[in-house]
């Protein structure tokens, strides 16, 4: 149905108009059928065809688009977690919903926002708002990027034009929400979405997902032979790192706990000082590496602390930034504790991929080089 196809890319408001048009066309066609060839015998078949076409058109028009915002960090550092997230989202789709991954999405703009460049952040945010304008819901597999969109997008403004002009413009625009406010309103963190959809990790079979059949998804498993993580007995003891943004911005930390609680393959161990920062903080860890490292050491200590005499088997978080920080910090200290994104754990795909930071082939060289460079600084 060309009508449905052309309109699928437009806003929800357009959908209503499209459906009206669609209905009118259908009615006209039915009328012509009834008056013209009504007496003929094949009329019943014709009506049936039209009914089928009508239903298909409705499906297109009313299909709900669920956007996946992969985040720039996950895009380049951990595609396997992105594929795992997509599998989980696909599994939770209701009838009529479509998962889309707009290719024009980039970064949430947090780097600019937290570095004191609100104009840059605004422009970046606008790019995302346009990329996801056709979506009815946007899912972000990160508390930090999700928090940026949910909490800070509505506060962003171009920042350069004088206050008076802006307020005049606002009053002209009336009560219409800005594109950034719209995006903020329809964005959820992955764990929030999964909890809302009553996701049950135990009934989920990653092998059955459309994505696993694809060679690309296998390539995302870092083109390394699958690691055998079955050395410990099930269930795996998991230490959950709650990211600061999932605790205080998206408020999705409880959702992550709830999801892990449901999974039979893992048991959670309590983590002391779970509301403390791991020291990542985006550009903070590069600007103030020593302060960040001191925070990281404390975090590593609490995350690997034994409970009932047993250390946790793996560390899981819903934020890739924190995980990269923790995983590489642990490896630097020589502690072998696999770290995975929560999507990989819930989807069960972690069994097939090396842990975060485990694939770094240049580990020791970079370490010595880096240490020497800083030492002579």
């Amino acid at each position: 149905m060309p009508l449905g196809v052309t309109l699928a890319g437009h806003h929800a408001q357009m959908k209503v108009q499209a459906s009206c048009l669609h209905l009118c066309c259908f009615w006209l066609v039915c009328r012509s059928q009834a008056t013209g060839a009504g007496a003929e015998k094949g009329a019943e078949g014709g009506v049936l065809v039209f009914v089928l076409v009508f239903v298909a058109g409705c499906r297109k028009i009313f299909s709900v688009k669920i956007g996946f915002f992969v985040t720039c960090l996950m895009n380049s550092m951990r595609p396997s977690a992105a594929f795992a997230s997509m599998r989980l989202i696909e599994h939770c789709l209701d009838a009529g919903e479509t998962l889309v991954v707009p290719s024009v999405q980039t970064c949430c703009g947090q780097v600019s926002f937290n570095s004191g460049d609100p104009a840059g952040a605004y422009a970046t945010a606008l790019q995302q708002a346009q990329a996801f304008s056709a979506c009815d819901l946007v899912i972000v597999p990160s508390g930090s990027c999700g928090g940026m969109i949910q909490k800070h997008y509505p506060t962003l403004d171009p920042g350069e034009e004088p206050q008076e002009e802006r307020s005049a413009e606002q009053s002209k625009a009336g009560h219409e929400a800005s594109p950034l406010q719209v995006l903020a309103g329809k964005t959820v963190e992955l764990c929030q979405f999964l909890v809302q959809r009553h996701f049950d990790p135990n009934s989920f079979d990653a092998e059955a997902s459309s994505l696993l059949a694809m060679p690309a998804a296998r390539a995302a498993a870092h083109e390394v032979a699958p690691h055998s993580h079955d050395r410990a007995s099930m269930p795996w003891r998991v230490a959950l790192h709650q990211s600061c943004s999932s605790l205080r911005e998206t408020q999705s930390a409880q959702d992550a706990i709830a999801l892990l609680d449901r999974a039979a393959t893992v048991t959670q161990v309590p983590v002391e000082g779970s509301d403390e920062c791991c020291g990542f903080g985006g550009t903070f860890c590069v600007k103030y590496p020593d302060i960040s490292a001191s925070m990281l050491h404390r975090k590593c200590e609490t995350l690997t602390q034994p409970t009932d005499g047993k250390v946790p088997d793996m560390i899981v978080s819903a934020d890739l930034g924190c995980l990269l920080n923790i995983a590489t910090g642990l490896r630097h200290q020589g502690i072998n504790r696999p770290c995975y994104h929560i999507a990989e754990v819930l989807a069960g795909t972690w069994r097939h991929s090396p842990a975060i930071g485990e694939d770094a082939p240049m580990t020791s060289r970079a370490k010595h080089k880096g240490a020497r460079n800083v030492g002579t600084k």
Binding site: H91, V111, A208, L212, A327, I356
Partner: protein, 528 residues
């Protein structure tokens, strides 16, 4: 008397005050020099590399946080009370000039004297003048952050007047000739053994072989020393946690009772405080008091909470043990500029110290690294405003924005937002060193095609020999304490595009939530 003009000046909009507009008299600069040695990173290194200080801060990290949590839980509706207190303080700030005038009238009507000081230096001169007037040579002081801010002790010492700090922590700091490292626990960084050594050094009139191993011994000795100071003092100086416009009272909160002795034993009492401390009514004050001690130390209320008013001079003061004169020095010290800027919310601060108790950065580097009177997140916001963003550029930047301070702040101050505001100012003033990188990233993020091409190239290059060396160089700071995580050879977007995966409407094949097998329609699999 600046009172009405001062108050009037505060209402006149001066536009968005740049932090550099904050009055910086010579004293502030001198203070900044006195406080900080070297750059922020040097001070931070010193804090990071000091094991005894780390131990002490560890104590705060574990005990203070737990105590506060228990006290807040016992309170019940913390959020409700916080919202209420915030509203009342916002209201007080909205009508600040009126309240200050009202307070002054009440205070003066009861026989007190009010002095207005625009700068710290002016305040010090006024206090020195009062001391000279009553011929005070020995002064007892209870802990007050504003007197730290205006560097009163140094000023008085230069004038030949000897101030004695009577808060135990401040007393230790004074003996060590140091600055406080925490706003409510000034000698947090000093260990017990160090205090014993210090007392052995300074209390030379006591037998040198006495044992000072127990906390109690240290306490008894300092108490005896301080008691002598109280009895000999000619004048007492205290701060004030709040001023109540309705009644003309100043509220002074301590746990040691030293403020009460400082304000009752000497013949003259000076209260030094800043203009942002005024609240409208007694009820507002008590609402804030319910939050203050719980947030600071986890106590339901501090051991001593004193409402002090002049209560008339001469005839009314029949008791011989009360001061004959009560002076109140109201310091602006750059607060009017803050009041008229985008940072007004920081004036809600009640100096409880909860933000620093919960701050992982503070836990790492300690209070002295902040380089000025106020450490922790509140310092990161306040210090650039009062002492200049150029000099204290690092404070608002050295934050991971974890937001724990905002979560615990009893006055609901958006500390991270205000720090971000400082970063915006710094970016505009071209103080940010990496601003071209930031701009470049912003430019890239607006161009999806270029963005993804760059990501693809980075993935490709990172796995070549040259790329690895380059990555190691670029991320050398990261690599000091961590290994370097490598980007995937192909970013997700490329993998997805090559996979042939196509969006399709769920439910076209058997419902996906029954067994999950639905989504793998053969067409999409074949597209790979």
């Amino acid at each position: 008397m600046l009172a009405p003009n001062k108050a009037g000046a505060a209402t006149q909009p001066r536009g968005k005050a740049q932090p550099d507009d904050a009055p910086k008299d010579d004293l502030a600069t001198r203070m900044a020099q006195a406080y900080h040695v070297g750059t922020f990173s040097e001070r931070a290194q010193a804090g990071l590399g000091n094991p005894s200080r780390q131990q002490a801060v560890e104590l705060i990290r574990t005990t203070k946080v737990a105590k506060r949590r228990a006290a807040i839980a016992a309170l019940g509706d913390f959020d409700g009370l916080r919202t209420h207190a915030r509203q009342r303080k916002d209201h007080a700030l909205a009508i600040l000039p009126t309240l200050l005038t009202r307070f002054e009238q009440k205070f003066v009507a009861q026989g007190g004297h009010v002095h207005w000081a625009e700068t710290g230096h002016e305040a010090c001169t006024i206090i020195e003048g009062i001391c000279r007037e009553v011929d005070a040579k020995k002064v007892v002081k209870s802990k007050s952050m504003i007197t730290e801010e205006i560097d009163l002790n140094a000023h008085l010492e230069q004038a030949g007047i000897f101030p004695l700090e009577t808060d135990l922590g401040e007393y230790i700091i004074q003996l060590r000739k140091e600055k406080p490292s925490h706003i409510i626990a000034p000698s947090l960084h000093v260990r017990k053994a160090q205090v014993a050594e210090l007392f052995h050094q300074h209390h030379t009139d006591l037998p040198p072989d006495r044992s000072l191993e127990s906390y109690d011994a240290l306490l008894q000795e300092s108490r005896a020393q301080l008691r002598q100071g109280f009895l000999e003092a000619d004048l007492g100086i205290t701060g004030a946690n709040m001023l109540i416009a309705e009644t003309g009272h100043a509220v002074v909160v301590t746990n040691e009772g030293n403020a009460d002795l400082s304000m009752t034993l000497p013949r003259t009492h000076i209260i030094v405080t800043s203009i942002d401390k005024v609240v409208e009514s007694m009820t507002d004050a008590t609402a804030i008091l319910r939050l203050l001690a719980r947030s600071a130390t986890g106590q339901p209320i501090s051991a001593y909470t004193t409402f002090v008013a002049p209560r008339g001079e001469g005839a009314n003061r029949s008791h011989g043990d009360l001061p004959t004169a009560v002076h109140l020095v109201l310091v602006d010290g750059g607060r009017s500029a803050i009041y008229n800027s985008a940072f007004r919310e920081v004036l809600r601060c009640i100096r409880c110290g909860a933000c620093m108790n919960h701050c992982p950065i503070y836990h790492s580097i300690g209070g002295h690294a902040y380089g000025w009177v106020y450490p922790g997140p509140i310092g990161a916001v306040l210090t650039p405003l009062l002492a200049g963003l150029g000099e204290f550029y690092d404070l608002p930047h050295a934050s991971s924005f974890c937001g724990r301070c905002v979560e615990v702040c009893p006055m609901d101050i958006p500390l991270t937002d205000l720090m971000r505001q400082h970063r915006v100012t710094a970016f505009r003033q071209k103080l940010v060193r990496s601003r071209h990188l930031i701009r470049g990233w912003g430019w890239l993020a607006r161009r999806a095609q270029v963005f993804h091409t760059v990501h693809r190239l980075v993935g490709k290059c990172a796995h070549t020999a040259v790329g690895r060396v380059l990555a190691g160089r670029l991320a050398k700071d990261w690599c000091v304490h961590r290994t370097l995580p490598m980007p995937h050879a192909k970013p997700f977007m490329t993998l997805l595009a090559h996979s042939g995966w196509q969006p399709s409407v769920a439910g076209t094949s058997p419902a996906p939530d029954t067994d999950g097998s639905s989504a793998s329609s053969p067409e999409r699999g074949a597209g790979a």
